[in-house]
Symmetry: C2
Subunit: 433 residues, 2 copies
């Protein structure tokens, strides 16, 4: 722990997914899955590095890089010992810097940059302890856990004392859930069969392949055109059958009234949830939609900026599923806050994943949730999309529709040196072509 | 109008206000009033340029500059004719770019950058018509006005048809209000007497000077310490008297429960409003505070990210005063949307100003509001702080506590060439010292 961070390198890493329309949806028609990638170096002389990233979709990644560099003076010079002694203090030094906070606060580019840095610090911290991040946290006392969390602006919904009570309640049974997870893995669902830009034949083939691999939970994309949505839902149900779980994702495409009409038209398809039916900022709009479209659940979160927005989504009864994003929230510390909020409100957390590195991150988050916080698997599953895992040193393993518990030290989102070289924008070989 | 934008230059402009603690408050202890500054050049050969800025407070301005450059491909090549024919289409091309939107959407650094660009386009447009921006808009038909507005995500609270109805209702009487404004000016209040970092003596002296200049409305800063807040409020009331209007600004420093207790302690001082009592994202928190602290009003908005957040602040009954920011919203187009929302909900708009260039901008906004939208001055006033006006080509004129209607063509936030040279960061003479 007497390790001092002496350098921070930020790299612009992009993959050309728009060439195949992987990841395409109603508002992101041509994403190039990308990452603002951070490497922390220390003075320990043992070569251990902290690697962290925030997921982006192409253009603008250079802006996040610039924001990471703006945080540099808050990170370089800090020791892991200082971080471990007051992790929330370190977190708040990034999110509440007296001049930089004007650019957010706690949202947008600067918060995405914060996530990459904070996730890199967790990676370094876990590696220095020789544990995967989920296990590092699962071995914390409730008091150590809450010391990572900023309760500022949460106390009307969740106090530190209430958080401690939740964590203490589940403390004695942690080991049993940890053993269960090592044995069974964590349940997942698959998104990558149903991208909006894929033709019907490709969707059918991907569904069949996924069924063969043991998947029982599927997500499809929907959009503005009601007939196409019904067509795609019919096709998905034909392929996966009546018993498989099906969700739909609208990616923010509707106004509130329009959302209600469009979702009602999808009622025959027995959807577990409709995801991002409208603006991610519209808490009251989600609440109105949720009241109108039952029994279809409402899910959102991949564009939810921070814990204060999640607090309100829960207070307003706006969501059935909390889809926090490991990189849009300000790194694992704020994720831990949202896990506690969700437990307080009795809501399942089904983290957003896919993209680049998100599956690698969220397996840790759902394990922390199950082992330490919610102690429940009911209505809980991790998103999975099968893109870009080959770039990572320790990619996720999914077996029969479940994530296999990661065993390697760190936070799992370290990319291979050759991948970083190849994908670096604009100089890498992928982009020079 | 056959003018094509052929270049966009972004400059990092900073003033060293932290050296005097001008602008200091409970969370921004040392602001350096700054601007991410945009210059648009055209092919018209007449030397007209569009100047726009977004206000920042020092570190991180370079990140906004980078974001402005990321928007460059959406601006360079566009003609003013195209913009004029579909201003909302142009606006949405900036705010809904399929890859860049991931970095927001419509919030944080990218939205601040959008504001600088959009404000520069309005400046250019108004100069090419030889009018101040407020007059350019005041001369628009209701149909032209709403064609500048993105109603996406607003339709559950405000439709295009309802907006048109508001504008038509006030159309016949526009000329009378315009004449009144030219004669009397627009009412204002002063903030620059009460910065948190100023010692008592300085506050007293500034209050006396402001009273002599005809000011009757004052704002003070408050913070975490209840005794100091009461001390400062006592001092302000001693200086300005019982009849002057007094507001207090907490700059996001409290949690919800804490805010209620702290504000109740300020009840003896007859405050018109408490500003930013908690997180700017906490719509439901503001609503809870508002219910608890009546008759003190609740004001917020300088950190309100976009029209969807304002919509909810109004739907939830969370505010008494809408303090939109001309640079945090995505430029004048989104400001126009929020003026319409406020009119629909019957709420007064008192725009946030101070900083650099904000006073110059908001005089246009309040004139547009009065002449075209709200047609009311009740509980309405523009913020004024007396810093940095000397850097501008057409600085605001305030006389006896009222803004004098600007007469020069454009949006008034063009800085003098020598100021830009002197303040450019880090190379300008102010920073080399």
């Amino acid at each position: 722990m007497a390790r001092r961070i002496i350098d921070l390198v930020a790299r612009d890493i992009r993959t050309p997914t728009s060439r195949t329309l992987a990841g395409s949806d109603a508002v992101h028609k041509d994403p190039d899955y990308s990452a603002a990638y951070v490497v922390l170096k220390t003075d320990a002389g043992d070569g251990l590095e902290g690697h962290g990233l925030t997921f982006t979709i192409g253009r603008g990644t250079e802006v996040v890089i610039k924001a990471i560099e703006a945080l540099r003076h808050l990170v370089v010079g800090v020791t892991l010992e200082q971080v471990g002694a007051d992790f929330n203090g370190f977190w708040r030094s990034l999110t509440n810097e007296s001049q930089l906070r004007w650019l957010g606060p706690e949202k947008g580019v600067l918060h995405l940059a914060t996530a990459a840095v904070v996730n890199a610090v967790w990676d370094l911290y876990a590696k220095s302890e020789g544990k995967p991040v989920w296990k590092l946290v699962a071995d914390m006392t409730p008091e150590q856990f809450v010391a990572c969390v900023d309760f500022r602006y949460l106390s009307d919904a969740l106090t530190r004392a209430q958080a401690l009570e939740i964590l203490h309640r589940n403390l004695a049974t942690r080991a049993a859930r940890e053993a269960e997870m090592r044995r069974d893995g964590y349940p997942a669902y698959i998104t990558s069969a149903g991208w909006l830009g894929y033709p019907d034949d490709k969707v059918r083939a991907l569904c069949r392949e996924a069924l063969k691999d043991g998947w029982t939970r599927f997500k499809m994309k929907v959009g503005l055109n009601r007939e196409e949505n019904i067509h795609r839902a019919t096709l998905m149900r034909q392929e996966i059958g009546a018993d498989a779980t099906l969700m739909a994702d609208a990616n923010q495409v509707w106004d509130v009234g329009e959302a209600i009409e469009q979702i009602k038209a999808l009622r025959p398809f027995n959807l577990l949830w409709i995801e991002e039916p409208t603006s991610p900022d519209d808490i009251l709009g989600h609440a109105a939609i949720r009241r109108a479209v039952r029994p279809i659940g409402v899910a959102t979160g991949e564009h939810c900026a921070n814990r204060v927005m999640f607090k309100q989504l829960m207070q307003a009864g706006a969501i059935d599923f909390c889809q926090l994003d490991s990189c849009r929230l300000g790194g694992l510390n704020e994720v831990m806050a949202v896990l506690l909020l969700a437990a307080k409100f009795g809501l399942p957390v089904c983290p957003h994943a896919g993209g680049i590195g998100l599956c690698e991150y969220v397996q840790h988050i759902s394990l922390i949730d199950y082992v330490c916080v919610s102690a429940s698997l009911e209505n809980r599953m991790i998103e999975f999309a099968d893109h870009g895992h080959e770039y990572f040193k320790h990619p996720v393993h999914v077996r029969r529709g479940r994530y296999v518990v990661p065993a390697d030290a760190g936070y799992s989102a370290e990319m291979l040196p050759q991948s970083l070289a190849q994908l670096e924008f604009p100089g890498g070989s992928v982009w020079r072509g």
